[in-house]
Symmetry: C2
């Protein structure tokens, strides 16, 4: 079994409206000095497999085909083997 932590980030060059909105909100709340806010996705999941190559392939396909938008997002993930209990 593998525990996967994937991070999906919008490319730096692409505007992040959610981050901009949060930044604006901080200003309205009087939180001075907050800037460069970027909101990204972090996805945790498990893969039932004992082969790290297979698990890596599944995680990669999951990220490419479903979790990220390849036009404007980059992804990275880490695999961690966990013992079944």
């Amino acid at each position: 079994m593998f525990k996967v932590k994937a991070i999906i980030k919008r490319r730096k060059s692409i505007l992040d409206p959610q981050g901009k909105a949060a930044e604006q909100g901080a200003k309205l709340l009087g939180l001075n000095g907050v800037n460069s806010v970027r909101v990204d996705k972090m996805i945790d999941f498990m893969i039932n497999s004992n082969d790290s190559d297979e698990a890596g392939k599944i995680a990669d396909e999951f990220c490419v085909k479903l979790l990220s938008n390849p036009i404007m997002e980059d992804y990275e993930f880490t695999l961690e083997k966990v013992n079944e209990s």
Copy 2:
């Protein structure tokens, strides 16, 4: 200047519909063995301050009042001092 990395997670006991949808999608794509998908938010931002106490207070307030929903989400953040260039 401080670089802040905040992670907003839905509590384990609360259903995560976005994660469920991704899990369902993985099944439809034929990616077997993907389960326990949880989609969380990761927010990176900068705080213009040289006082770590003040920066911590601002980051905490930003998380509580704006970034997280205290009814069903937990948050954590790390502060990292960066040199202004």
